[in-house]
């Protein structure tokens, strides 16, 4: 399905290591152009599939995800992507200008992030309609959930056929501007008092979901929590800003 999303320029700047430096009119215009280009040329798409956790755990190995969805009998496997056109666009832009290539790359990263947030909202809304509550997103490559699960993940959620997502020999996603993630689902009644974390970047979810689920901690604590098992945590620039990459380091 198509996902409505816009580049979050602040987020794109954060990916670029921006810490409040004055941009000047030229650079600001170039970033605006990059964002507009991404939004004009790319159509974010997503797909998801719900599975019993018992089935999913056969190929989603490791302790960290198991702990993340502990007590959640169902999981959603989701994938969002900017599509192969994004690869062509990024190649073209970086061939024409390294600076514009960098800016477009960051804006595309933001766009796919926002698309994944939008998809998360849809999943959580649909789950809520079924009387289910959701965990936050958890991506392959994050914690001890290995990237080697990606091919089976794509097949299981249909992203290979529906979105044309593929993996490289090293199990990276192609197109690179793609996000895969797992979300746990369980009946709302069971969520009482168990501190279910609502996705940080999904205000629409917070509005639509039971308000108590938002109480499980602010961004800071969530960041520490999420990054505890990440091998990139010590050097991660996003984490330094209190942000979460959901297993897709910029």
């Amino acid at each position: 399905m198509e996902l409505t999303a816009q580049v979050d320029i602040d987020e794109a700047l954060a990916f670029l290591g921006h810490r409040g430096q004055a941009l000047g009119p030229d650079l600001a215009a170039r970033i605006q152009r990059a964002a507009a280009l991404c939004e004009a040329e790319l159509r974010p798409r997503g797909v998801w599939q719900t599975l019993p956790w018992e089935d999913a755990r056969l190929f989603l190995t490791g302790h960290d995800l198991a702990a993340h969805v502990d007590g959640y009998p169902e999981v959603v496997l989701m994938a969002a992507t900017l599509g192969p056109e994004s690869e062509l666009m990024l190649r073209r832009e970086s061939a024409l200008s390294a600076t514009d290539g960098l800016l477009v790359d960051a804006c595309a990263s933001s766009l796919v992030e926002q698309a994944a947030n939008r998809l998360t909202c849809l999943i959580v809304e649909e789950a809520a309609a079924r009387g289910l509550t959701a965990t936050s997103r958890y991506s392959p490559g994050y914690g001890d959930l290995p990237l080697t699960c990606q091919p089976a993940f794509l097949a299981a959620c249909g992203a290979d056929r529906a979105l044309g997502l593929r993996t490289t020999a090293a199990n990276m996603l192609v197109p690179t501007k793609s996000i895969t993630a797992v979300i746990g689902l369980k009946p709302v009644l069971d969520a009482e008092g168990e501190g279910v974390v609502v996705p940080q970047k999904a205000p629409a979810v917070a509005a639509g979901a039971p308000s108590r689920s938002a109480a499980a901690g602010g961004a800071g604590s969530a960041t520490q929590d999420r990054c505890a098992t990440c091998p990139l945590a010590p050097t991660c620039s996003l984490r330094a800003q209190g942000r979460i990459c959901y297993g897709n380091p910029a």
Binding site: R19, Q21, A152, R161, G164, R166
Partner: protein
């Protein structure tokens, strides 16, 4: 159009189907029924069910036979060597079992099914076209050996992968080949291919049927079949899903029932499909209902001849009269990339511009870029021509001494991954054309073949094999004849020879060869007359390289534009010209109004209304000035107009001039007379403004030495930029923008030095020790390994596809005057070693983003140290630390791109 081949046709019904006289009803979905039988979790590769549960598969297929299907598809969608590699089964075993099951189920005809490889082809993925071809060839041969009647290639999303599959099946079996691709709701595949592009390309490769399957229901597919049918020089095929998939309680469901499905299929049959069936969600009941619909319709339409036989040809071969079994086919001259098609239907007035700028003849910069392997320069040329509204791009990389087949292939790969315009492969070397046509994701135009017998015999088989269109030059063993009639005679021979190879006349365009008015004035009118004659007598499209006409005359663009208008009037369809010239664009845009191509004059009104006529008013001075002010100029993005240089010309003159008082670098005695200029250059650099910096550099060059500008201004200001980045005043894009701006200045100086070098080649006096030397004079002549080479090889290591960091390092290193050889991403260790050896590079920069690929980095370092003991390796990337760099044996660690320039400067400084 593909080389004709002798088909094995196993039944009268199939023969009638192939001639377009009968419908063929295929089966419906397999996966849904396998799931219903509870078999979907037995194997990871469902094709293994053929070996372990043959009776269950036969039972499903028998239901389709009983429902009235003529043709049963083998359960072999994933039976390729990639997907079977972790199983005990071979490709041949799976096809043999699957075909036997279908026969046992009572199938009147069996289609050997081939799905996508599951791997991505280059450039997005690792699979080469030849690897894909081998994989598909193995499957197609297995299907034929297993006794299948048809090869069915289906659910393709990548046109290049579909091309590999069709080529493999056509060239390795004698079976009819059917091919379908899958399209989204926007009417395109994931990679942007439209049904018409797929049909044009795959039918030209020799598929007997092309069409669509999966993704959408019959209602959504019907308009796409309607778009596909006129472009298919073959049967038209459609296998829709039972509606759009929908999630219900976590399960995928399809809503369109059998009756509704069959009714909706009427529109698809009306649109020209004669080979039909179902895909996901369809069941034997859907097929039964569709059978009833087919039985209630008259047999499909009569055969049409592809085109009238050549009227005056004494003997037309059977190939030239090959019937097209699709009555909706509309003959057209068509050239297509995977994303865009230029289609000139026979009998319709339409012109298309072929952009000529990617051709090294007379273009020193382009030639140097080709020799240096700087493909980015060509991308910039291509993008600029796209913005200037070229329709097709000519690609000629013929430079003496270079491996043209390899280079043309590389350039075509890069261009098709970055620019959507279809390409014209321009070479006199048939091997180069073949290599590039093979890997081209689409239907290229080949330029050229000529009337010489040897040339026809060498080029036309390539054109036929890869389903290209071709430009024929009206010259032969006796040269270029002076009269129109003689040119027509050669054109006729070319069209006839093409027909002998199965290439229909709609795939041929004739270039009557423009001569210079200054030397062959009498011939100019003959050329125009030849264009008219060729078009009238042969019914083919015409091409002309317009700018030859003005050779030797002043005001060449004026002469060219006038000739262009005259040639359009004579019947020219495809001028080859420089689309960046506004004067030519004006002529093309205006002619498109006059010939009715610009419907409602919409483009012309949008672009030209309210724009001043350049000939009006006081400014109408020289032709040069009026060309620059022509209205067409405003249509393109100005930043591209200058080709590969500056990106910011649209922003020039934005801010006021900086003052000397705030100059961030010291003004040296050399520049004591122009402190404001130094301050301005430094300010432009810090602001990242390339165009004004280039302009100011050019001005300063009039009075000062280029080398001094580099050493006294550019290098110090880059150091200031580096410091600002280090202390956090600048962040990465600012560092990059500054570096890019300074590069624009470097380019100005380099151009001036090259011009000076050309003027006095032997009096080389430039100082060879400075960084500026390499920056300013790195030319192909110096590309050979030399002990003093400052070349640096950079690459993202094998398995890693993140190259943004590497690109930044490359750019900054180039700014510091280092010649950088960029090997790209996902580069094998040995390829890095080989490239470094070949270039004589002694510093290698490796980048890795992901923890999973640092192993490849370590391996590469070991290989470098083993095979190139003099070379050093510098590493960087998100996950790399100094400790880690030490651990894997790297010689240097660069924490960021700015650091990499310091490492390189120090490395070569110590060596010197």
């Amino acid at each position: 159009m593909a080389t004709p081949r002798n088909l094995t046709v196993t039944s009268d019904h199939l023969a009638a189907v192939l001639e377009g006289r009968a419908y063929l009803l295929c089966d419906g979905g397999m996966g849904t029924l396998v799931q219903a039988a509870g078999l979907h979790t037995v194997h990871e590769v469902p094709d293994l069910l053929n070996l372990t549960h043959p009776q269950d598969i036969a039972a499903i297929q028998r239901r389709y036979v009983e429902a009235g299907a003529d043709c049963i598809t083998t359960n072999t969608f994933s039976a390729n060597r990639l997907k079977l590699k972790d199983t005990d089964a071979t490709v041949a075993q799976v096809y043999a079992a699957a075909a036997a099951i279908a026969r046992e189920a009572g199938a009147p005809l069996v289609a050997g099914d081939i799905g996508p490889t599951g791997a991505l082809l280059e450039p997005l993925g690792p699979l080469t076209l030849d690897e894909a071809y081998d994989i598909f060839a193995e499957q197609a041969c297995a299907a034929e050996a297993a006794g299948c009647d048809v090869v069915l290639i289906e659910t393709m999303a990548d046109l290049l992968e579909a091309k590999a599959a069709v080529l493999a099946a056509v060239e390795n079996t004698s079976l009819p080949v059917f091919a379908t691709m899958t399209f989204g709701e926007d009417g395109r595949t994931f990679l942007g291919t439209t049904p018409a592009i797929a049909a044009t390309t795959l039918s030209a490769l020799g598929a007997q049927a092309v069409g669509l399957n999966c993704s959408l229901g019959p209602v959504e597919l019907a308009p796409l079949v309607d778009q596909l049918a006129p472009a298919a020089r073959s049967l038209v095929m459609a296998q829709p899903n039972a509606g759009l998939p929908r999630l219900q309680d976590g399960e995928t469901v399809f809503d369109v029932g059998p009756k509704e499905f069959a009714q909706a299929m009427e529109a698809i049959l009306d649109a020209g499909a004669t080979v039909v069936g179902g895909c996901c969600g369809t069941t034997p009941e859907h097929i039964r209902a569709l059978r009833a619909v087919l039985d209630g319709r008259p047999a499909p339409g009569p055969i049409v001849e592809a085109a009238a036989p050549i009227s005056t040809a004494p003997s037309s071969t059977p190939a030239s009269k090959l019937p097209v079994p699709n009555p909706r086919y509309e003959a057209a001259f068509a050239v297509a990339s995977a994303q865009r098609m230029v289609r000139l239907p026979q009998g319709q007035a339409a012109v298309a511009v072929i952009g000529e700028r990617i051709n090294p003849t007379g273009k020193k910069k382009l030639k140097a870029a080709l020799q240096a392997g700087d493909v980015d320069y060509l991308v910039a040329e291509a993008a600029a021509q796209q913005r200037a509204r070229a329709d097709i791009l000519d690609v000629n990389v013929g430079v003496p001494g270079l491996d043209e087949p390899a280079l043309l292939t590389q350039v075509v790969c890069t261009l098709q991954a970055t620019v959507p315009l279809p390409l014209q492969l321009d070479s006199s070397d048939p091997a180069a054309i073949e290599a590039a046509a093979r890997i081209y994701a689409g239907r290229p135009l080949v330029n050229s073949v000529n009337g010489k017998a040897a040339n026809l015999a060498a080029v036309l088989p390539v054109v036929a094999r890869y389903g290209c269109t071709v430009v024929g030059l009206t010259l032969d063993e006796n040269g270029i004849p002076p009269t129109a009639e003689e040119r027509l005679a050669i054109a006729r021979r070319i069209v006839e020879a093409a027909a002998d190879y199965g290439i229909p006349r709609e795939d041929v365009a004739i270039d009557c060869l423009v001569m210079a008015a200054a030397t062959n004035q009498a011939e100019v009118r003959e050329i125009l007359r030849a264009v008219t004659l060729v078009k009238q007598e042969l019914g083919v499209r015409t091409v002309l390289g317009v700018s030859n006409v003005s050779f030797g005359l002043p005001q060449r663009p004026l002469v060219n534009a006038t000739f262009l208008a005259a040639a359009f009037g004579a019947g020219l369809d495809m001028p080859i010209l420089n689309p960046l010239n506004a004067r030519y664009r004006d002529t093309v845009d205006t002619f498109r109004v006059l010939n009715g191509q610009d419907e409602g004059c919409r483009y012309f009104l949008d672009t030209y209304a309210g724009v001043a006529d350049p000939y009006d008013g006081p400014a109408s001075g020289t032709a040069e000035a009026s060309a620059a002010a022509a209205p067409g100029e405003s249509a393109g993005a100005p930043s591209a107009a200058g080709g590969a240089t500056g990106t910011a010309s649209s922003r020039q003159g934005g801010a006021g001039a900086p003052s000397a008082a705030t100059c961030p670098i010291p003004v040296t005695p050399t520049f004591a007379d122009v402190p404001e200029s130094v301050a301005a250059l430094a300010a432009y650099a810090l602001e990242g403004r390339g165009a004004p910096l280039a302009e100011a550099t050019a001005q300063l060059l009039e009075t000062h030495d280029g080398l001094a500008i580099i050493n006294d201004i550019f290098v110090p200001v880059l150091d200031v930029v580096g410091l600002k980045y280090d202390d956090g005043t600048f962040f990465l894009p600012q560092l990059m923008a500054s570096a890019e701006a300074v590069k624009a200045g470097f380019d100005v100086i380099r151009a001036q030095q090259e011009a000076a070098g050309a003027a006095g080649r032997d009096s080389a006096t430039a100082d060879p020790t400075s960084a500026a030397h390499d920056a300013a004079t790195t030319s192909p002549d110096h590309a050979a390994p030399s002990p003093s080479s400052r070349a640096i090889v950079v690459a993202t290591v094998e398995g890693d596809i993140h190259d943004i960091g590497k690109n930044i390092v490359k750019m900054l290193l180039e700014n510091y005057g280092f010649p950088v050889i960029d090997l790209g991403r996902d580069v094998a260790p040995q390829a890095i070693v080989d490239a470094a050896r070949e270039a004589g590079a002694r510093l290698i920069g490796l980048s890795a983003l992901m923890t999973t690929t640092v192993g490849a980095m370590e391996h590469t370092i070991q290989l470098v140290h083993q095979q190139l003991p003099q070379a050093a390796v510098m590493v960087g990337g998100a996950v790399i630390t100094q400790e880690f760099a030490d651990q894997i044996g790297a010689d240097f660690y660069a924490k960021d791109a700015a650091e990499s320039t310091r490492v390189a400067t120090q490395f070569f400084g110590e060596e010197a």
